[in-house]
């Protein structure tokens, strides 16, 4: 019997409490689980199902519902399946124990998410500044970080020679009004 991603999901569902699962496309499936289950699922994937590597850790900010969605993407070089294991964490002050012990490169991915979203990963040995130097304030990749406002506050954009920009719809309306006025006058 050939291995299918449905069988795989079924096996995981038997062993763990999965809150939701879907097959996105051929070879890509997503699993939702709680934060407590995360390490168990990942270790199961690595040790039993032979998922060799962690491709990346995705993070998306759902500010409307007030959570971050972390997706751990495990990849198998034999079946070419990717399983996204998704957990939800609260937007402020959340902490997820590191998965560095399972896959070492997770250290780098977590370091980036820590800097860009402010999620804490206790146990990570390298959780220090990464891309940004002496960054103070809100982590920049959060949805409520306003980058245009930040640019206006910190840098100066060159304005010389760029004066006199007009709004197209306003100008068009002005011209139409002027035309109407002219026609009215002619009519009189």
């Amino acid at each position: 019997m050939t291995e299918t991603i449905d069988n795989l999901l079924e096996r995981i569902g038997r062993n763990f409490q999965i809150t939701g699962q879907e097959v996105k496309k051929a070879g890509l499936a997503a699993l939702h689980c709680s934060q407590e289950q995360l390490h168990g699922v990942l270790i199961y994937l690595k040790e039993v199902e032979k998922f060799d590597t962690l491709t990346m850790i995705g993070c998306a900010d759902w500010i409307e519902d007030d959570y971050f969605e972390l997706s751990y993407m495990a990849y198998s070089f034999t079946t070419f399946f990717t399983v996204m294991v998704k957990i939800r964490v609260s937007r402020d002050g959340s902490s997820v124990p590191t998965v560095e012990g399972i896959w070492r490169q997770a250290r780098t991915f977590e370091r980036e998410i820590h800097e860009m979203f402010g999620v804490d990963f206790p146990g990570n040995t390298r959780l220090k500044e990464f891309f940004l130097e002496n960054w103070q304030g809100m982590p920049p990749m959060k949805r409520d970080f306003d980058t245009v406002q930040f640019v206006k506050d910190h840098y100066k954009l060159r304005e010389e020679g760029r004066e006199g920009a007009c709004n197209v719809s306003v100008e068009r309306k002005k011209r139409i009004d002027a035309k109407k006025l002219e026609l009215k006058k002619e009519g009189e």
Binding site: F131, L132, E133, N134, P140, F145, T147, V148, F150, V151, H154, Y155, K156, L157, R158
Partner: protein, 202 residues
């Protein structure tokens, strides 16, 4: 002299005093050999190899790479500068020996370019360093980069490539602009000890 072209000869004829001739000659020699420190700060770094290698061969114009900032005449800043890079670039620039020049490539050093709304790149390079020649493009083709070098040579010959003097004269202005983005994490004073005679502290 084969290397003296028409323009040079015409300029030479107009000079009156012997001192002017000496100045002219100094500039002429300076412009013949330009050692370049290609600080690949951004995308523009990718058009530097074609410029200096066989296809466009910048060495025909006396432009070649320098190993260290101390040996370089011109620093080529090719593209956007992240704040972290700018700090290193300023330090590199201050280490260079005078006469020194700056060439900026691409849109980003002029007005932010496509990264105008990025939180981590600077928008106007000439606020922080004196720029002698700017080449527009994203990225400038090797031909445009060569034109940039020719414009720089022109400027040197006219004796107007005084970016380094401008930097020294207006050091307060430049340092204040730099302080705006670096805050209290300014560069150590020793990188421009001619300014901080007391050893330097910000």
């Amino acid at each position: 002299m084969d290397n003296l072209n028409k323009k040079d000869k015409a300029q030479l004829k107009e000079l009156k005093s012997p001192m002017a001739v000496v100045d002219w000659a100094v500039n002429w020699f300076r412009k013949q050999s330009i050692f370049m420190l290609a600080y690949g700060t951004g995308c523009g770094a990718i058009e530097i190899p074609p410029t200096v290698t066989a296809r466009y061969d910048a060495e025909r114009f006396g432009v070649r790479g320098a190993a260290t900032p101390r040996q370089a005449d011109v620093i080529v800043l090719s593209g956007y500068l992240a704040v972290k890079t700018l700090k290193r670039v300023i330090r590199t620039y201050e280490q260079m020996q005078e006469p020194k020049y700056v060439i900026a490539l691409g849109s980003c050093p002029i007005n932010g370019g496509m990264y105008w709304d990025s939180y981590n790149t600077i928008k106007q390079l000439d606020r922080y360093l004196p720029v002698d020649v700017t080449v527009a493009g994203c990225m400038p083709r090797p031909e445009a980069v060569l034109e940039g070098f020719m414009a720089l040579k022109d400027k040197i010959q006219r004796g107007e490539a005084e970016g380094a003097r401008d930097y020294r004269d207006n050091i307060e202005k430049y340092k204040n602009n730099q302080k705006e983005i670096f805050g209290d994490k300014m560069l150590p004073g020793y990188t421009c000890d001619w300014y901080f005679s007391d050893g330097g502290s910000f």
